[in-house]
Every structure is written in structure tokens, then in C-alpha cells.
Symmetry: C2
């Protein structure tokens, strides 16, 4: 198996699972119970929160533990009472949570970077919430958060000078970035930061929201008053223990992992272009920003081809990758991210997202590239055969094939 979809899910690190296990069994106590073993569980839980918080330059008390990034994002948006600005390429969870807040979409450039000039214009006095992901989940494009937060700070100062009292909060979804960038909430200048265990070697069903001092949030679930009343329910102790081990491990290996991904990514891209050329095929369209991109991301497009058919061809060889966000891929809708960066329908239909992870090795670059090139060649040949003899260009034919496979 060559797994190239770490942006969708990562296996739980053996060390994380090992640390979690006693909290399922011997240390199963309810952390709110009054006896000593339960108090020790609470201490372990709080120490784990501290560990997670330290990886983003915060304290455990600044974190609200949630069931994952989606819940963190929805909780973050409870600070929004007027109008929101969100990046056009945000994850579905941000777009959905923003929808009730008359959200305006901030445009992005062809590489997926925020259009800072447009953002400055859109940041009017009625905006009280801005949400910009640190790194995009389809392109891996890393946003200039420091520049964005500088603009937010300037807008706040300007409001203060004019006697305006509308607050302005900056939220960032760092789900994809947590294990790849050295994060620090102060340096990023964010008021709220969403992080997630399942994308960095921790278990599914656990996430956190960093809340800067004074940012008013409203609980989505009321009850026993856990997480400072902002998220009631018995604490998911094993999940948080696993999250802590995974984030600490990611932080410790940040440099070596990034180097691995850079080398792997470069070798893969080189091999792919070479293999395609050998088959008389053009190089793929490389998506995202050439420099400001997560080291493990390799989003590419083969315009005119049907990416889903490529995925099935590679699946037969136990090579696993996706067309984009797993939750969107599952619904068969056109990627709003690729639409936002201005790709044509044909370019979108031929798009694949490869994302490397700690489980990948350098020797996987060649076979993966060869298999993908062969799949592209086979698919290009198949489409030429099935293209009607009328003078249709490759693009509408591919588009038709895509429609058929979608409705099959």
C-alpha cells in the first residue's frame, strides 16, 4: 500500500495509542469524580491539555476540547454577532458555520493566496469576525496570517479612534497546518485557532479551540459545565491523551518530517513529469503556491481527464489518493476551492490531491509516480477512443465522461 491521502486522515501513532490505552482500561475513571484515582485522571487530562496548548504557544486553560475541527469551528463562530468575512477556499465547516452570519467571501489568487487588497476593502466597520485557514485543505497553500492579523489590528485601532465599539475577532482553522508548521498563537496574531487530532497522528473525534483571553464564546452544548462551561459532557480522556502525544511528536519531528516531505515531494514531481514525458504526455498542472505550500501537499491536475477514474485505477494497485476534501468528494460536487482559484471545469475534473505523511518513505516516490503516469496514459487513451468522431475537443468529452461516472 502507498497511502497518499494524509490530509484526509492519518493513522494514530503507536506511541499515542499506547498512551491512550490505560485510560480506556485501568484509568477509566470520570475525571469529575471525587476519589483519588479520578483526580489523577483529571490531572493527566489537564497535563495533556497543557501539552497540546504548548505546541501552539498557549496554556491548557486557553483550550476548549471539542469532538474535532468541525465543532471547534462552529464554536468559534459563536463569537460572531454581526457579519463575517471568510476566505472563499475555506473548508466546508467554515463556510457552513459562516452562512448564518451574512458572510462575504474573500477572493483568492490563482495559487490560493488571499487577495490582501480585496480583504482590506472588505474589512468594513460592520465586520466582527474574520476566518482564514492557516493552510488550505485541497491546495496546501499557506496564508500570510501575520499580515492578515496586522490588517485586523489596524482596523481595530481605526475603530477605536473613531469611537466604534464593534469588536473584531480573527479565527484560523489550522487543522492541516498543526503537524507541519511551527505554530504560535501570539506570532500568528489570532484570537481563535482550530486544531484537530485526527490530521496529525491523534485519534478521530478530538479537537480543540484556542480562545484568547476575553473572546466571548457561547456553548453549543450545555450541561455539567466542563471546559469552563463552554463544552459540557464527560471529558474524552483517552482522546485528549492521544492528541497530546501526537502533537508533541509532531512538534519534535517538525524539521525532519518537513525535510522528508520536501524530498519525497520533489522526487515524486520529477519522476511524474519524466514518466509522463516518456509516454508522450505533457507535465501535469501543479496547483497551489510554489513556495507558500505545506511541504506534504502535491495537488495536481490533468486537464481533460476524469480524476475519479484515475483514483480507481490507482486503487487497484493499492495506491490511495483523493480528488480533494473527503467529505466533499463523497458528495460528488465540484470543488469550491478549485473553482475559487479560477480553474476551468476541465482542470477541476482532472484534479488530484496527494498528501504525504510520516508513514511514507522516499522509495515510494518512484512507484507512485510511475503508477500515476501509467493511469494517466491509460485514461487519456480510453477517452480518445470514446470521444465521439464529431469535432468535439477533449474537454467537453472528459466533462461528459465525468458526468456519466458521477451518475453511475
Amino acid at each position: 500500500m502507498i497511502y497518499l491521502d494524509h490530509a484526509a486522515a492519518t493513522p494514530v501513532l503507536p506511541a499515542a495509542l499506547k498512551a491512550m490505552t490505560p485510560y480506556f482500561t485501568e484509568q477509566f475513571f470520570n475525571p469529575s469524580a471525587p476519589y483519588l484515582p479520578a483526580k489523577r485522571v483529571r490531572e493527566a487530562y489537564q497535563a495533556a491539555k497543557d501539552t497540546i496548548a504548548h505546541t501552539i504557544g498557549a496554556k491548557g486553560a486557553d483550550l476548549i476540547i471539542t469532538a474535532g475541527a468541525t465543532e471547534s469551528i462552529n464554536l468559534a463562530f459563536t463569537a460572531c454577532h454581526h457579519r463575517a468575512l471568510v476566505l472563499a477556499t475555506e473548508h466546508a465547516a467554515v463556510l457552513a458555520a459562516a452562512a448564518p452570519h451574512h458572510a462575504t467571501l474573500i477572493p483568492v489568487t490563482r495559487t490560493g493566496l488571499i487577495d490582501l487588497a480585496a480583504f482590506r476593502k472588505l474589512l468594513t466597520d460592520e465586520i466582527d469576525f474574520v476566518s482564514v485557514s492557516l493552510a488550505n485543505n485541497e491546495l496546501g497553500t499557506i496564508q500570510p496570517l501575520a499580515e492578515i492579523s496586522a490588517l485586523v489590528r489596524a482596523a481595530r485601532a481605526d475603530r477605536l479612534a473613531h469611537g466604534l465599539t464593534t469588536p473584531l475577532y480573527l479565527h484560523s482553522d489550522a487543522s492541516q497546518a498543526l503537524s507541519l508548521l511551527d505554530l504560535n498563537v501570539a506570532r500568528l496574531g489570532v484570537d481563535l485557532l482550530t486544531i484537530n487530532a485526527a490530521k496529525c497522528g491523534g485519534p478521530k473525534g478530538v479537537g480543540a479551540l484556542y480562545q484568547a483571553h476575553g473572546v466571548p464564546l457561547q456553548a453549543l452544548t450545555l450541561g455539567g459545565g466542563q471546559e469552563r462551561g463552554l463544552r459540557s459532557g464527560t471529558e474524552n480522556v483517552p482522546g485528549v491523551i492521544g492528541f497530546a502525544v501526537a502533537t508533541a511528536d509532531a512538534k519534535r519531528h517538525l524539521g525532519t518530517h518537513r525535510k522528508l516531505y520536501q524530498t519525497l515531494n520533489a522526487r515524486f514531481r520529477q519522476a511524474l513529469t519524466r514518466e509522463l514525458a516518456a509516454l508522450g504526455l505533457p507535465a501535469p498542472l501543479l496547483l497551489g503556491h510554489p513556495k507558500h505550500q505545506l511541504a506534504n501537499f502535491c495537488p495536481v491536475s490533468f486537464p481533460g481527464l476524469d480524476a475519479e477514474r484515475l483514483i480507481y485505477r490507482l486503487e487497484a494497485q493499492e495506491i490511495y489518493l483523493s480528488t480533494g476534501a473527503a467529505c466533499a468528494a463523497n458528495k460528488g460536487t465540484k470543488s469550491h476551492v478549485l473553482t475559487a482559484i479560477g480553474l476551468s471545469d476541465s482542470e477541476i475534473a482532472g484534479s488530484l490531491r496527494l498528501s504525504f505523511g510520516a508513514a511514507n518513505t522516499l522509495d515510494q516516490a518512484e512507484p507512485a509516480a510511475q503508477a500515476l503516469a501509467a493511469a494517466v496514459a491509460a485514461e487519456a487513451a480510453r477517452q480518445q477512443c470514446t470521444t465521439p468522431t464529431s469535432a468535439q475537443s477533449a474537454t467537453p468529452a472528459a466533462s461528459t465522461a465525468r458526468q456519466e461516472s458521477r451518475h453511475a
Copy 2:
């Protein structure tokens, strides 16, 4: 260790943990991803939902998986748009979720049973939501859900006959009851049922809400559209797999477990009374309903004593029990459940909740009873010594001692 607080938390069953483990490691795929191994994960997830649903006489598609009972309860209350009726002894999560809905509390009798006559009167035409837990989390009292749902059905028929269109939904929190009673949503006559993995040998951080066909719910978290759009976020696959194994196991061993708890409970009560008598002390006040009570519950009160001090004395002998709901115990507030059944402050202050579980053995009844009786004797003696020589009765003295220990 003798653990007597299964109502607060249960260890994860070895079989459940074993079933979960591969879904942390090899089967870690995102169930929404498009390749075969991910589709197999989705199949396993859906099969697990079916297993959980079958234990309550429902289908997997009727369940919305959540992060636990608290979230399920909060989701259930999104069906409430007018006024709610909730039992006075409901869990903090129900009371908190009901608060924004102008909720009226349904009174209970001294044994914790719903006052059906009062309920009938309170069930006016403006009520659109009723929430009654199947079994109380401090007393174990089992409510007559079939009678309650018959009244709800009659009220619906009456509204229909009068041309009223206000809907009326019945929700029940079955968190405590799931592993102890043979549940069937049709027989119970509920529209919504909350269940929880962590109370029945499954992992923390997983629960479900059963939703009868046509009951309108609103998502608390928006995003990728998982769980029919009612609960977005990547599915907690291992958690649901563990939940399924735990519920299936509980269902399979329902009879034998109940018999174990009944015998254990009877032996414990008998031994406790005998030991107390030998020490010249009166029998404890037995709380809850003598018949309609979960077999594993043994809530007792030693009026005039400080239950927290009893807990610490038993803790020293590795016997663990609690004063009531763990989340409330943690806050040091007076139990609203014991207040609602009409206990005096002195009776409340001396209340303990013992709850047996599958990990307990029959030979634990004697040592647990002996230790508790000895603790009661020691505490009674201590209080007599510390009681001021003025003519105060034992009760206010105990109350004072309690206050002190609370503020210590």
C-alpha cells in the same frame, strides 16, 4: 480496589477495545474517502451503527452519532420551539438544555417517580417537548415511560381533534438504563432517545441520539454534512466500533448481569445493616424506588453525616463511590435530585450513590459493607466529639461540618 461508581464511568470492555484498535491503526482511513479501504471503513462504521440501533429496536439510519449524552440531549432539544416540560430530577444536561425553552419542572414523588397527575395537568397545549429520563442518574429510579408516552399520545390526539397544530415530542435520556434494561423505542413510545457509550463499557466521547421518522432536528455543528447533515465532522470510527461491541455485550448479558447486581445489591444492603447494627448504629435511609430501580443502584443516606468525609475514608481503603452525579459533585453544589424528592439538608449531606458494574464480584459485598459501616461509625463518633457542647442537635452540626469541608 472495589469500584462502586459505575454510574459515573465504566471501564472499556476488553472486547470493545480490541475491536477499536485496528480502526486507530491499519483501518484509520477517512470513511468519506473514495478508495476501497476507506469504503470498507464506512461499511464497518454503518454496521456498528446498526448494531447499536438494534439494541434499542431501531435501525442504524435512525441514529445520529454524537460525542456523548450531553450533545445528544442538546441536539434533541433543537426539536423544541415553544415550551418544554422536564422532570425535576433530570441530569444537568437536560436542565441546562431546557432552560432557554421556558421549561417547567414536573414534580416527582419521594421515591423519584414522576407525579403522573401533575404531569397530566402540566401537559397543556403550548407544550411541544417533554423530556423524562428513563432512569435517574442519582437514584436509579425507573420512570413509567409507556404511561408517559400514552399521555403524550392522548394529548396529541386531543390537539388534532381541536385543530391545534403544535407538535409534541417525547425525549428520554437513557444513558443510565442502556446496559440494564431491555430497551425498545417503539415499546417506550419515545420520539427521541439519548444513549451513551461511556456508561456501558464503551469509550468516552461517543453517544447517539435516536430520532423517530419525521422529528425535525437542527444541526448544532454544520460542515461536511455527515450524519445526514445533522452532525458534521469526520466520523469517530473507533469510538462507534467500541460503542457497538459494548452495547451488544450488554444486551447479550442483560439477564446474567441483572441477576449479579440484584444478588450483590441485596447482600451489600443486608451486610451494611447488620454491620451498622453491630456498631449500635441505625440502618441507612434507602433512597429511590424499592421496585422501580436499576438493579445496580444503591443510593443511601446517613442523615447528619458528611458524605464527602465518608468517601475520603473509603478512598483510603481503595473503595470508590460518589455522592451523586460526578459533574455536580465536582462543583460542590447541593443535589437538585435529592432536593426534588424532598430530602432534608441533613439527609442530602449524608447521601452516597453506590452503583455496581460488571467488574464487581459477589465477594465484594461484605468488605464494602464492612468498610462503609466502619466509616459511618468513625464519622459519627468524630462528629459527636466536635459538636459544640451547646444544645445543638446532630443535624445542624453535621450541616456545619459539611459547609466547612466544602469551603476547605
